[in-house]
């Protein structure tokens, strides 16, 4: 789960990392009031879970409260990478002498966290990594010991940080580590970490990615999830324990298992189609969950055919078949449905569906081919 800039920065502040004074606004009027309260120059920043806000015009400087209002007016409602901006953060503008990068990220292959810092901050760190990897200093964090102050000092030397900032920098790094650990995050990033003209370090932007597996013990963050811009479909999917991601294609996919789901999507492409979504019903899915999955897929107006691919292991094919029937009873649809069931209780599952006149397939490639054909044929035989 990605956190918004303002959420990340609030967590940073709790762990002693200095952030600019600022408040969240949902209307231009609020932005104006906040700017008046803060005094002086402010920066108005779109709160949206997408990169490239700056280039998209989602970050604007304002010299006066009236300018802040105008900036908020321009930004609120803006679309950035398909996401609508509903909130802006109004921050006191800082007098920036230098921009650093400081982040901690999960190193999957190394099975540890790695802290990275660079004197080339303020830009996409991946671009720095690609163009000038020597500009990024790293510290590997021992999972049993945690980040140690000496590692921060080492990193500070490696990026040739002004020595006067050493103590602050070390404290911020340790705070960032605490923030990550206590939030079950897999990434915590300050970019830029500004050196102000007054010689202070200040986290101007913040990004955190929280591990969904840790949310059960992060009640505050779990509640913060409510602020995320989820579509109704995504929200419903989550409530049923389904993994759903909407895409641009027209073949709705319902599969058990993430890997098989992706392979199924890939297969539709291979046969000239385009997947409308990723949807993993998970292991051992019961009929009601399957029905919810189908409802979500069918609610997408782009869907011209549905491909159901179930390889039963924990998941029982007869339960899946019952869920499919239940869904079509609730939401009658004319969209053609191709079903491929295999594994545990497959005979019973096939028997149930055969009665309902679905298109069935024995193999994944056959199923994908038929789904693409059905979708491209425009309409096909009604499902129920």
């Amino acid at each position: 789960m990605n956190l918004y800039e303002f959420q990340s920065k609030q967590i940073f502040a709790k762990h002693g990392i200095p952030i600019p004074k600022g408040e969240l606004a949902q209307t231009p009027e609020e932005a104006e009031e906040i700017a008046a309260r803060l005094g002086g120059r402010v920066v108005v920043k779109a709160q949206v879970l997408a990169g490239g806000r700056g280039k998209a015009g989602g970050i604007r400087l304002a010299e006066t409260p009236a300018e802040a209002r105008a900036a908020a007016e321009a930004i609120l409602g803006m679309q950035i990478k398909g996401l609508t901006v509903r909130r802006v953060l109004v921050d006191q503008a800082a007098d920036i002498a230098q921009e650093l990068y400081l982040g901690i990220v999960l190193d999957r292959a190394g099975r540890r966290l790695v802290l990275m810092a660079s004197a080339a901050g303020g830009v996409d760190i991946e671009e720095v990594a690609a163009a000038a990897p020597e500009k990024i200093a790293r510290a590997e964090i021992d999972p049993l010991l945690g980040l140690q102050p000496y590692q921060m000092r080492q990193v500070a030397c490696d990026i040739e940080l002004d020595r006067a900032l050493l103590t602050q920098f070390t404290r911020i790094g340790l705070g960032l580590y605490e923030a990550l650990m206590r939030s079950d995050a897999t990434l915590a990033e300050i970019n830029p970490l500004a050196v102000t003209a007054g010689g202070e370090l200040l986290a101007l932007d913040g990004k955190m990615v929280v591990d969904d597996n840790g949310l059960y013990r992060q009640p505050e963050l779990a509640r913060a999830r409510e602020m995320l811009e989820e579509s109704p479909a995504e929200r419903e999917a989550r409530q049923y324990g389904l993994s759903y991601v909407k895409l641009d294609g027209y073949i709705g996919c319902m599969v058990n298992g993430a890997g098989l789901a992706m392979a199924t999507m890939d297969m539709t492409k291979l046969f000239g189609g385009a997947p409308a979504n990723f949807l993993d019903i998970g292991g051992g899915a019961r009929a009601d969950r399957v029905a919810a999955a189908l409802r979500i897929i069918l609610a997408d107006p782009n869907v011209r055919a549905v491909l159901i691919n179930i390889f039963g292991g924990i998941t029982r094919c007869d339960e899946v078949a019952r869920g499919i029937l239940e869904a079509f009873a609730q939401v009658p649809s004319k969209v053609p449905v191709v079903v491929r069931l295999i594994g545990t209780n497959e005979e019973e599952g096939r028997r149930l569906l055969a009665e309902a006149n679905f298109i069935t397939a024995r193999t994944l490639s056959e199923a994908a081919r038929r789904a693409v054909e059905a979708a491209q044929a425009g309409t096909a035989a009604p499902a129920v």
Binding site: L106, R108, A109, R111, R112, L113, E126, A130, D142, P143, L144, M181, D184, T186, D211, D212, N213, G214, Y216, R217, S243, V245, L247, V255, N256, G257, A258, G259, L260, A261, M262, A263, M265, D266, M267, T268, K269, L270, A274, P275, F278, D280, G283, G284, F311, G312, G313, I314, T315, I342, G343, T344, T363, L364, S365
Partner: protein, 288 residues
């Protein structure tokens, strides 16, 4: 035996009295696995279909000589269960449980390594040596013994591949699901090494997906150290960047971890990469 598991392996099931634990225990026994003990704290002294239940793994090991563990305990307790197994001297720990926080797993993996044990998973289907034993949740009947080693980050996608191999009469030496989480106990390379040394394995099938760079590291290993042919498939060519695809392993962030890059690296390493899962069996058949 093939790798890691055979019919002499002595298995203890942690979380044996749970719904999944008890169901799959019976499935494992039915497949021929020697399940010698179960563990559920507070239920020591009870039995499940003739299998003695203990309060701790240490007690189970002492009484039954268990050397392999299958873990079915719920996510908030699973990290502790893995460490308990490692501390009790279990050599092969297979954690089926899904949903363990990544930060917990960092500590667990470090601890398991310090004990010299091997962890498969978590969030994995387990492993099977066809005709001998299975420790996990895969449907046993789709497998058959043979010369193909299978290693995969995925669950049902592995079944798909194994099924198509078996349908063409091609058996498997051992099939290992290493799990889809960000932090897992054994990597592709760990398992490739074992297959390379295993006299019963002639060809290795590797099934990867987007996210992370384990496949890229595996490609390097194959180029440098493998003499046996490797056939691969990578899922997720149609997945968009930055979106989370089902399990935590499958995130593409920025330029790394994409399916195209993985496929390119594998091809450079001399790996035959299939365009779709069923094609794997075609390629393997042509090699035998």
């Amino acid at each position: 035996m093939s790798i890691l598991l055979d019919n002499r392996s002595r298995v203890v099931v942690q979380g044996i009295t749970g719904r999944e634990g008890s169901f799959h225990t019976l499935q494992m026994v039915e497949y021929g696995t020697q399940v010698v003990a179960g563990v559920t704290p507070g239920k020591g002294g009870e039995w499940l279909e003739g299998i003695p239940i203990f309060d701790t793994v240490a007690a189970a090991v002492e009484a039954t000589g268990a050397d392999t563990s299958a873990i079915f305990v719920p996510a908030p307790y699973a990290a502790d269960a893995i460490m308990e197994a490692a501390a009790a001297g279990i050599q092969l720990i297979v954690c089926i449980t899904e949903g363990i926080p990544a930060l917990d797993m960092l500590k667990v993996v470090a601890f398991v390594r310090s004990r010299g044990a091997r962890l498969i998973g978590p969030n994995c289907p387990g492993l099977i040596t066809p005709g001998q034993a299975k420790v996990g949740i895969m449907p046993g009947h789709i497998h058959r013994p043979g010369p193909v080693g299978v290693v995969s980050r995925s669950g049902t996608l592995t079944y798909e591949v194994v099924y198509s191999l078996t349908q063409r009469g091609i058996g498997q030496s051992t099939a290992v699901g290493i799990g889809g989480d960000m932090i897992i106990g054994s990597s592709f390379v760990d398992i490739l090494e074992l297959f390379e040394r295993d006299p019963y394995t002639d060809i290795v099938v590797m099934i990867g997906e987007i996210g992370g760079n384990e496949e890229e590291i595996a490609a390097e290993y194959v180029a440098g150290h493998m003499t046996k042919p490797v056939v691969a498939f990578i899922a997720g060519l149609t997945a968009p960047e930055g979106k989370r695809m089902g399990h935590a392993g499958a995130i593409i962030a920025g330029r790394s971890g994409g399916a195209k890059e993985k496929i390119a690296r594998l091809k450079e390493a001399g790996v035959r990469v299939a365009e779709h899962p069923e094609q794997i069996a075609d390629i393997v058949a042509g090699m035998l």
